[in-house]
Structure formats: structure tokens, C-alpha cells
């Protein structure tokens, strides 16, 4: 179960709280997964008491067309804050040894990118490969290929969402060193095993999946690896 409480001394209009919170949550807490299980209890509560606001401060109102500089600034603060808080949860994933960022770029829309990212993040085979420090990009690609809405061809032109010949997968090292390209536009690359091992030894790792040619929408999702310890913790858990 995920629980969170956030408090601030900014003054916010009561009708606007939900808009600030929904926007922030959709980019943070709704973009993490440890084990793919959505609890019966997940809750994020938010409180704003205005205690630090000057007497002449107008409570923030989050309107549809709001270009108020304070609203934009506060939303940015909240988004960043919620993201940092959400990432702490991933870092403490049961049995986790890795913190994984999955970044998917699609030139179709954000939804297509996010579906692919969620599918990779929830793949037991991807997560166990990461635990084993194996550069198994095949499992990553497989997970992209079976993502909901991508295999289905009812209301969506599934072929358009992912085209194998335009798909690339890379590992991005957390130390800022050069990207390791594993698949480039559908063609597997000769992988430097030594380099792959160096990257996978690090605790933090980014998986970049490109599904695009044109200007991309980008979805970012965070997860952890899947270890023996996760099974031990949950097998030993007593109700």
C-alpha cells in the first residue's frame, strides 16, 4: 500500500486543490510500480493552510486556461516534490537492488508512450534480468510489444503505435557516460559485454525506448528489479 501526506503553508482555493493534485500525481505517484499490485488503500492526502501567505495574497486558483505565474510556479514545485517523494518508495522496493527509470518516446501520443513504459516496468522477466544484471533487451522489447492497446487492433491502429523498424532500445548509465545502444531502428547491435556489465553493476539505470521518428511525447516511469528477497519477504508475510 502507498500512503502519502503533503502539507504546505501556501493559500490555495479549495476548488483548485484537486486539479493541482491530479496533475502532480499523474506525473509522479501514478508513474511508479514495484510489483504491479494496486492496493485497496492507496491514498495521497494534501493540506494547504495559507499560514505563510501575506495578507494581500490571493489563494491560487487552477483554472483551465490559467497562465497565472504563481499557479504555474506552484504546480512545478508540487510536481517536482511529489516525484522526489514517489521515487523514495521505489528505492525501498521489497528486495530491490536497482532503481530503474524507464523513458519511452513516442510520436503518437503520451498514452502510447506510457502504456509501453508500464508494460516494461511490470514485466517479471525484465525485472529479474535486471536483478541478474543481464542486458536482456529482448525482454524489454517483448514487453513493449504486448502492452495493452498495442496488441489490440479494435479501436486503435495498433500497427501505428509501435513499428518494429522504428524501435530503438538503449541503456543510459547513471554516471553520465555514453549511452549503450542495444537495438537501433529494429536492428540488434553488437553489444560490448564489458560495458554492459559496468552499466548494470550501478544501482541506478535508465532504459530508453524510442518508438518515434517525429517530435516525441515522452513518458517516464520508475520501477525496481525483482529479486529472491522479494519472494522471501512476501512468502514469509503472515496474515
Amino acid at each position: 500500500t502507498l500512503l502519502a501526506t503533503v502539507c504546505t503553508d501556501v493559500a490555495i482555493d479549495p476548488q483548485s486543490v484537486h486539479k493541482f493534485l491530479t496533475s502532480g500525481t499523474n506525473k509522479s505517484f501514478n508513474c511508479i510500480s514495484i510489483d504491479g499490485d494496486t492496493s485497496t488503500n492507496d491514498t495521497l492526502t494534501f493540506f494547504a493552510n495559507g499560514a505563510a501567505a501575506p495578507a494581500d495574497f490571493q489563494p491560487l486558483i487552477h483554472g483551465k486556461q490559467s497562465k497565472n505565474a504563481d499557479v504555474i510556479a506552484f504546480q512545478a514545485v508540487l510536481d517536482d516534490f511529489l516525484t522526489e517523494l514517489a521515487q523514495l518508495v521505489v528505492r525501498d522496493g521489497e528486495g530491490a537492488t536497482k532503481f530503474v527509470t524507464i523513458r519511452v518516446r513516442s510520436d503518437i501520443n503520451y498514452k502510447a508512450a506510457k502504456r509501453a513504459a508500464v508494460s516494461v516496468a511490470c514485466s517479471s522477466l525484465v525485472k529479474t534480468a535486471l536483478y541478474g544484471k543481464d542486458a536482456n533487451w529482448g525482454r524489454i522489447l517483448c514487453a513493449v510489444g504486448y502492452a495493452p492497446g498495442i496488441m489490440s487492433s479494435t479501436t486503435i491502429n495498433a500497427d501505428r503505435l509501435v513499428e518494429p523498424s522504428r524501435t530503438s532500445v538503449s541503456f543510459i548509465p547513471s554516471d553520465g557516460s555514453e549511452e549503450l545502444r542495444l537495438l537501433v531502428r529494429g536492428e540488434p547491435q553488437e553489444v560490448d559485454e564489458v560495458r554492459a556489465k559496468q552499466i548494470l553493476e550501478m544501482e541506478d539505470l535508465e532504459i530508453l525506448v524510442r518508438l518515434e521518428d517525429g517530435p516525441p511525447e515522452e513518458a517516464v516511469f520508475w520501477t525496481c528489479d525483482f529479486s529472491h528477497e522479494y519472494v522471501t519477504i512476501n512468502g514469509d508475510y503472515r496474515t
Partner: protein, 208 residues
């Protein structure tokens, strides 16, 4: 169980913080789970004056009692005049039927009474719970401990950290962050934001 923070995780636990004005936090022991005989398992985060509030909740069909009760409180109060949130670890109070809903409301009502508000038809405290699904709360233990919880409130870093620790279940470290910021209209005014979270398993939030 041993609650020592693993060496590799200690860097994520802050030694200090900057907390928003007018908020208090605290923790207390109730003994919600039989196997826990010493660690605080109740937390309270409140505004000294009732304030604006909101929340996002699980979309799981089997919404726990505290989720349903908190949704109801926010709807009834239209997001205003809310005091804070009371949290227990050790039991999720989920799939517990009508009695579970009553217990969640009892937690809110007991907390309200600590602040001189005694109207079970118009509750001001939100409720969160975490732990095993399908078991009822030991509600008498919890409501008996809530006055102690109220007395534990404070505004120091240690108070906030204790609350963050009390909501943990299988977490290996308490998760608490805080920061200050300014807004363009009044750059001379410093605001604060603080937050705590918990979770290490059964994590794939899809909140709305």
C-alpha cells in the same frame, strides 16, 4: 522486527527539515498488530487551524474503509475546514464490511474530539490505514491511544520523522522530505512544503 535502517538507505533519511507553518505532526503506540509490542503505529498530521484539503485515492474496486470514509468527508466538507489526517499501520481495515466503515469514522471522530469538535455527522479528520487486508481494527486500542497521539504533536523535525516512521509497514526507512520555495508575485515570502510517504510492496498506484 529490528527497525535499524540499512546502511545503504541511511542517506535517504534527512537529519533536518523545514516544515510548513501551522502544521504539527506526532506518533503514538496503539498495538494494532499483535506482533508489534513497542513501535509507534499511529501518526497524526494536522493544521493548527482547519484548512483546505484534497486527496487522490486508489481506483481498486475493493476500496478500504478509510478510503471510503475519507472520500465522504472531503465531499461533505467540499475540501474546506479539514483538520488533518490520522493514520494507523498494522491493519488496512479493508474488506471489513459496515463495521470497518464505523471503525474508520470512529478514528476520525476520536481525533476531532481532541480538538474540541464533537460532531460525528461532520467529521474534519481524514483517515488512512495500511497493513493486512481482511482483518478488523482493534478499534478500542486505537481510540484509547488517540488522546496520547494528540499530546505527542509538535513541529520539530523529530516529530515529523516519528510520524513518518509510524506509518511504515515493510519499509526499511522512513520517507520524509521538505523544502522551501517562493512564488513570483511575492518573491520576498518563503513558503514550505513537507511530505511523508510509505510503501515497499503492493505498489502500483493508479490514484484519482
Amino acid at each position: 522486527a529490528d527497525r535499524a535502517i540499512p546502511a545503504a538507505k541511511q542517506k535517504y533519511v534527512p537529519a533536518s527539515g523545514t516544515y510548513p507553518k501551522g502544521f504539527l505532526a506526532g506518533s503514538a503506540f496503539a498495538g494494532v498488530k499483535a506482533s508489534n509490542t513497542k513501535y509507534d503505529d499511529l501518526a497524526l498530521i494536522v493544521s493548527e487551524k482547519p484548512c483546505v484539503a484534497g486527496a487522490v485515492f486508489t481506483q481498486n474496486v475493493f476500496k478500504a474503509a478509510p478510503v471510503k470514509v475519507s472520500q465522504g468527508i472531503l465531499a461533505e466538507k467540499k475540501g474546506s475546514d479539514i483538520r488533518g489526517v490520522v493514520v494507523n499501520s498494522g491493519c488496512a481495515n479493508a474488506v471489513t464490511g459496515g463495521l470497518g466503515n464505523d471503525h474508520a469514522r470512529a478514528m476520525a471522530a476520536a481525533t476531532d474530539r481532541c480538538f474540541g469538535h464533537d460532531n460525528p455527522e461532520s467529521l474534519r479528520t481524514l483517515v488512512m490505514s495500511t497493513g493486512v487486508i481482511g482483518q478488523r481494527l482493534p478499534i478500542d486500542k486505537i481510540t484509547s491511544a488517540i488522546p496520547k497521539l494528540h499530546e505527542s504533536l509538535g513541529s520539530t523535525h523529530e516529530h515529523w520523522l516519528a510520524a513518518a516512521q509510524a506509518i511504515c509497514t515493510t519499509d526499511t526507512f522512513p520517507k520524509l522530505i521538505s523544502r522551501t520555495f517562493t512564488l513570483p508575485s511575492h518573491p520576498e515570502t518563503t513558503y514550505s512544503i513537507a511530505g511523508m510517504t510509505k510503501g515497499a510492496g503492493m505498489i502500483h498506484p493508479n490514484m484519482a
